[in-house]
């Protein structure tokens, strides 16, 4: 999505939502963001179904990749959350990780929308994690769970202050978890858009513009690689933080 005019860069237009799937999608406010979610989900399922279809004793490439994905998330859950509970939350963490990963990676492709660049989507995901963590904590420990907000070995006079800080830091997980993912994805796509616009604008200037345009193309090439890294890293960070929060909920500290 290049700039509209030659002198203005519309870096945010790419995040504009519009309805997808024609009149039917429009009538239920189904957006292109949701279409990408469906594509990402189908991708995840295809990755597992096609990968595991041979059920080979010695796996081929795709099967090895699917098994690697499974075992990576499984070991992350078991090591971070702890044996039994880790296995219990594994499907959720797996879904979370691969949903975000495929969303992030598909967003790097041209013309594809990145649904993780919408703060409402990431906020919904982080709220899901937050509510799950809180419910698990209370279910696991009952009222004792509230001692989580009281650090051990502090003077009684400081307790109100410390508890306030702890509660705020606990609540701020919602914001930090969602904004980290959203801001990373948005910033990357804004950068890509800006340098992409530079290529078009400078390339239109004639001979003098060719060199800086080529330079911008080089920068964009590097940015694409960087985006692939960020896409994977942020999905991993989201998943591992979820695991850490679940560990805290299950074990209290």
């Amino acid at each position: 999505m290049a700039a509209e005019g030659s002198n203005s860069i519309d870096a945010l237009g790419q995040f504009q939502l519009h309805s997808a799937l024609g009149a039917v999608g429009g009538s239920v406010n189904f957006t292109q963001s949701n279409l990408m979610m469906v594509i990402a989900s189908v991708g995840v399922l295809a990755f597992l179904y096609l990968g595991m279809k041979p059920r080979a004793m010695v796996p081929g490439r795709l099967q090895a990749a699917a098994e690697l994905g499974y075992e990576t998330i499984m070991s992350m859950c078991v090591e971070t959350i702890g044996g039994h509970e880790g296995k219990k939350f594994f499907p959720f963490v797996f879904t979370l990780f691969f949903f975000i990963l495929f969303g992030n990676l598909l967003g790097v492709f041209p013309l594809f929308f990145t649904f993780t660049s919408h703060v409402m989507v990431t906020l919904a995901l982080s709220l899901t994690v937050f509510i799950l963590v809180t419910v698990v904590g209370i279910k696991e420990h009952g009222l004792h769970w509230f001692t989580y907000f009281v650090p051990q070995g502090i003077p009684k006079a400081l307790a109100p202050l410390m508890v306030t800080i702890e509660v705020i830091s606990y609540l701020s997980r919602i914001i930090s978890l969602s904004v980290r993912l959203f801001a990373n994805m948005m910033a990357g796509h804004v950068m890509l858009e800006v340098f992409g616009s530079f290529i078009v604008m400078l390339g239109g200037l004639g001979l003098l513009g060719y060199f800086p345009a080529a330079l911008s193309l080089g920068v964009n090439t590097l940015l694409i690689g960087f985006e692939l890294l960020v896409a994977t890293l942020q999905a991993y960070v989201f998943a591992i933080l979820t695991c850490i929060y679940l560990h805290d909920a299950v074990h209290l500290h």
């Binding site: 406010n29 963001s33 469906v38 800086p212």
Partner: protein, 192 residues
């Protein structure tokens, strides 16, 4: 446009961008359109469906394959261990059989040796006995010969004495007196 204008333009573009973004407002926070929130609802539906499909079919599929492989590997390992154990047992058995055979052959050798020794000893004994007997027989024979010779001596001596006396004196002596004289002479010399 010249390069001197392009560079500031690029810099300005980068600087103005966040400000412009704030001014226009991010589409992500544009709540005038229902799409901003509707995408969350649809997103929740997609996410829940994905979660159910993964936890009910996708992940158990991977788990079953991994488990199958782990079982197969464990089974193969057990089989290999059993094969090794039986091979070890066979080896031990062979060792034992070798040791037993060696001991048996050693015993057979010893027995044969003993038997040969006994046989040799028995043979030597019979030989000795035979030799002894022959020696004894020879001695008896010698003694008999000697005795007969001794008895002959008396007669010869008597006859010789009678002949000598006849030749010297011309008289034929009394055989009984001659015989007595010879017998006493022989007895005197220890030959009688």
């Amino acid at each position: 446009m010249k390069l001197s204008r392009i560079v500031p333009l690029m810099a300005a573009g980068l600087l103005i961008l966040p400000a412009a973004a704030m001014a226009k407002g991010m589409p992500q926070l544009d709540f005038s359109t229902p799409l901003t929130l509707s995408q969350v609802v649809w997103g929740a539906i997609v996410f829940i469906v994905l979660y159910i499909m993964l936890s009910k079919t996708g992940l158990p599929m991977v788990a079953s394959v991994l488990e199958e492989r782990a079982t197969k590997i464990a089974k193969d390992l057990n089989e290999a261990r059993a094969a090794k154990a039986s091979a070890d047992a066979g080896m031990a058995e062979a060792d034992q059989a070798t040791a037993k055979a060696r001991a048996e052959s050693q015993a057979a050798i010893n027995a044969a040796l003993e038997q040969a020794k006994n046989a040799a000893a028995a043979q030597a004994e019979t030989l000795n006995a035979r030799l002894e007997k022959q020696l004894h027989d020879a001695e008896t024979q010698i003694a008999g010969a000697r005795a007969s010779a001794m008895s002959a001596i008396r007669q010869v001596a008597s006859e010789t004495a009678a002949t000598v006396v006849t030749r010297l004196t011309g008289l034929s002596p009394d055989p009984a007196r001659v015989d007595n004289a010879v017998a006493s002479a022989l007895a005197a010399r220890g030959l009688g």
